[in-house]
């Protein structure tokens, strides 16, 4: 007993000491958006299997969290790539530049955000204006003044819509999907109202505050970051609609269907050619400073943009990534070869 306790104590003290010696990192580290995660982890896996390099480690931290880690410094202790479901913010870029990091921006494709409900429920055909009327905390009243949203059922908004209670499940404010939805659908809808359009010209901040605040009276329900969970809830509750990424609609066609928005159905072609209005670009950022230091980093970028991944039959497209146009892709490829970094405007 005596001896073994001594041994254990020595082991316990020695372990953390051993660990403080620095480690040479021989695999790429990727952090960031949970929307880009399925794509970048697929590239990482294929890259690891088809090259002599180790498989990169991909973390799903959310865009904001990823940027924070990414911009915290240069060196082996910091990630090489940050995935983002939006462009880098100027505050984040400032942090990056201050730490001596020059990020290269790689645009990888598009993602549609869908409003969907159970296949057993009536089909929805909405305009952005109607989405705004259904989900905004404050809407313009009859005299143009802002009032608390009075609409309780869809038919309150427009007689052509079904007479069911407004009940929409969506992601929490920390989510990039929520940011994009609010920006594209809600703001897009709000602009269509004369009084709000006038407000937008006058005071942009105030307009955004109106357009970006979702109802808190139970019509909009925060259902967590997990899109699968929202899909499950829609199956159980045919009266509700849900907001999530296109790939989840793609995988669950047997149980949910997407609402047609401004006349365009959420499908691959409509999102790719831009006729479906709620879609956003996906990016990742890579540290120029790490390009020559971390083994395989260059090759990973090449793999991501290769025709094997992004081409017409590419594996990323099979998983639901909506591709860039040829011209856009060519531009991204040149940007990468020239190592064009993002700079503050």
């Amino acid at each position: 007993m005596n001896k073994s306790i001594k041994l254990l104590a020595v082991a316990a003290l020695a372990l953390p000491l051993m660990a403080t010696t620095s480690f040479a990192r021989d695999q790429i580290q990727i952090v960031g958006s949970s929307t880009v995660f399925p794509f970048s982890s697929l590239v990482a896996e294929k890259f690891g299997k088809s090259s002599s390099f180790n498989t990169p480690v991909v973390e799903s931290t959310g865009t904001g969290g990823g940027m924070k880690l990414f911009c915290s410094g240069i060196g082996e202790g910091h990630p090489d790539i940050s995935n983002a479901s939006r462009r880098i913010k100027s505050s984040e870029l400032e942090a990056c530049l201050a730490a001596g990091i020059n990020p290269i921006e790689i645009k990888v494709g598009y993602d549609g955000i869908v409003l969907a409900n159970s296949v057993d429920a009536p089909a929805f055909e909405l305009t952005k204006q109607q989405i705004f009327l259904a989900l905004a905390a404050k809407v313009p009243g009859p005299d143009g003044k802002l009032i608390d949203n009075p609409n309780m059922t869809w038919s309150d908004i427009d007689a052509s819509l079904p007479d069911v209670k407004i009940e929409v499940l969506g992601p929490p404010p920390t989510s990039g999907t929520r940011d994009a939805f609010v920006e594209l659908a809600m703001e897009g809808g709000a602009k269509k109202f004369e009084s709000l359009a006038a407000l937008r010209k006058e005071d942009k901040k105030k307009f955004q505050a109106v357009a970006h605040s979702l109802r808190e009276d139970g019509a909009f329900i925060e259902a967590g970051e997990n899109d699968n969970l929202i899909v499950q809830k829609l199956k159980a509750n045919p009266a509700a609609l849900g907001i999530f990424g296109f790939s989840f609609l793609d995988q669950n066609e047997d149980s949910i269907k997407g609402a047609i928005i401004n006349g365009a159905a959420p499908d691959f072609d409509n999102i790719a050619d831009g006729s479906y209005g709620i879609s956003r670009a996906l990016y990742y950022y890579v540290k120029k400073e790490h390009m020559d230091i971390i083994p395989g980093l260059k090759e990973y970028n090449e793999e991501f943009l290769s025709s094997k991944a992004m081409g017409e039959d590419g594996y990323l497209l099979e998983k639901g990534l909506i591709p860039l146009t040829e011209a856009e892709l060519a531009e991204v490829v040149t940007g990468l070869t020239e190592m064009k970094t993002v700079s503050l405007k």
Binding site: M1, N2, I5, L8, A9, A11, A12, L15, P16, A19, T20, S22, F23, R25, Q27, Q29, V31, S34, F37, P38, S41, L42, A44, E45, G48, K49, S50, N54, T55, V57, V58, E59, S60, T61, G77, P79, V119, N226, D227, N228, G245, S247, F248, D250, Q251, N252, E253, D254, D313, Y315, E318, K319, G320
Partner: protein
């Protein structure tokens, strides 16, 4: 009078019976929920334990695999093995020539099939290249959609537009079935592989090994530290304001939300000491901070339950304080301390929140081989699969939950066993 008393007694008995019933009902309620949970999880997990295979006649044509005929392993490993698998399945249905239909046909088989064939053929350092130029029948994995279809998870009777497998693909599958080219096998790969984005290739091994490494570190750190702290507090320290303060803080520490330990790990271990991200070493250190209070508290309780007469007897025959503690008190308290440690470990095994901060919530394909290799743990694997769009991951997730529950049950059973065997009553 007697009537009244009899009625009163009857009432008391009835109340007694009701009270017993309430307790029984509570237990049945809890057990009922447990049973429902276990049954649904097991039921959902079943598809993950089998995998559909398709027999394809593959021509290992030299043109594709080794165009320059050099027979170099490195060159051949880079060849497009997926193409020869694809050609194999095209050859089974020569009537399909349309490009769009060919794409549908190609989706019958796993997109990783070629990789696995190459891996098996080129496993040796000096593989013999006799397979080049031959034609062989090989069983390859079907794609996840076809696998789901065979298992009845994608139903034939729903409308084609709402089905991930279209009528034409079903026709092909039926024909393959009739030819005996489709087979369902036990999915050993689930226990052999690390994570993958292809559900048919995803396995639990990486997470199990990662959890194992993490828990080893946790045990090595928190058990000796916890026992030593408890021994000091219980046997040596004199009641003072200082010890009271320490005591309060240990109890507080036990109630701190686990994510806080993750933040501490990020700030201290990663940023200050510069340890690697995503490593079981750091994960174990963070989790040991979390289990430490549990171990201290249970060990102290165990030490307290050793009767003072034992200590006094040891001291009385001339043992030093240290001898008393090491030879008599601690061995008697060990079962209690070990039980606390195992329960603390079981809690650590199910923890994800603190690991998020130190990068262990990650997609990792390679099975870790050491304490500093990037790795993930079982509950994180469950979370990642639950969050994946592909439907086939639902079964994998449930299977991973079963594996996690299996380990938890084993650990708790060991704790109960230790208590039963070594517990002494005075």
């Amino acid at each position: 009078m007697t009537n009244l008393r009899a009625a009163h007694i009857k009432k008391r008995y009835a109340a007694e019976r009701r009270f017993k019933m309430y307790g029984l009902l509570a237990i049945m309620f809890a057990l009922g929920f447990l049973a429902i949970m276990l049954v649904t999880i097991t039921f959902r997990a079943l598809p993950a334990f089998s995998q559909t295979y398709v027999k394809v006649d593959i021509e290992f044509s030299e043109n594709v695999i080794d165009p320059d005929g050099a027979r170099e392993k490195v060159q051949i490993a880079k060849a497009d093995f997926q193409k020869i698998v694809r050609d194999g399945i095209y050859a089974l249905f020569p009537e399909v020539t349309n490009r769009k239909e060919k794409r549908k046909l190609k989706k019958l088989i796993s997109s990783e099939a070629g990789y696995h064939i190459a891996r098996v053929l080129l496993a040796d350092d000096q593989p013999d290249f006799e397979f080049i130029g031959t034609k062989q029948s090989v069983w390859v994995k079907s794609s996840d959609d076809i696998d789901s279809f065979i298992k009845g998870l994608i139903r034939r009777d729903v409308d084609e537009s709402r089905r991930r497998v279209n009528d034409q693909q079903i026709g092909w599958v039926d024909q393959l079935m009739a030819d005996g080219r489709i087979e369902k096998r036990f999915n050993w790969d689930f226990f052999k592989f690390g994570d993958s984005r292809s559900p048919e290739d995803a396995g639990i091994r990486g997470a199990v090994v990662g959890s194992f490494f993490t828990l080893i570190i946790t045990l090595l750190l928190s058990f000796p530290l916890g026992v030593l702290a408890a021994v000091y507090l219980e046997e040596y320290s004199k009641p003072s304001k200082m010890t009271a303060f320490i005591e309060v803080n240990i109890n507080n520490l036990a109630a701190v939300p686990s994510i806080v330990f993750g933040l501490l790990g990020l700030a201290l271990f990663l940023n200050f000491f510069g340890m690697p991200r995503s490593a079981p070493l750091v994960g174990g250190m963070v989790l040991s901070l979390m289990t430490l209070p549990t171990i201290i508290i249970t060990t102290r309780a165990a030490l307290k339950s050793v009767p003072p007469s034992i200590r006094e007897a040891a001291l009385g025959i001339g043992a030093s304080k240290m001898q008393t503690v090491l030879h008599h008190v601690l061995p008697l308290a060990m079962p209690g301390a070990l039980t606390g440690a195992i329960i603390g470990m079981a809690r650590a095994l199910g923890e994800t929140a603190p690991l998020l901060m130190i990068g262990m919530v990650a997609f990792i394909v390679d099975v870790p081989t050491g304490f500093t290799d990037p790795s993930t743990v079982l509950p994180v694997q469950i979370y990642i699969w639950a969050d994946s769009p592909e439907r086939a991951f639902e079964a994998k997730m449930s299977a991973a939950i079963l594996v996690l529950l299996f380990f938890l049950v084993i650990m708790n059973a060991i704790a109960v066993l230790l208590r039963r065997r070594y517990e002494r009553r005075w």
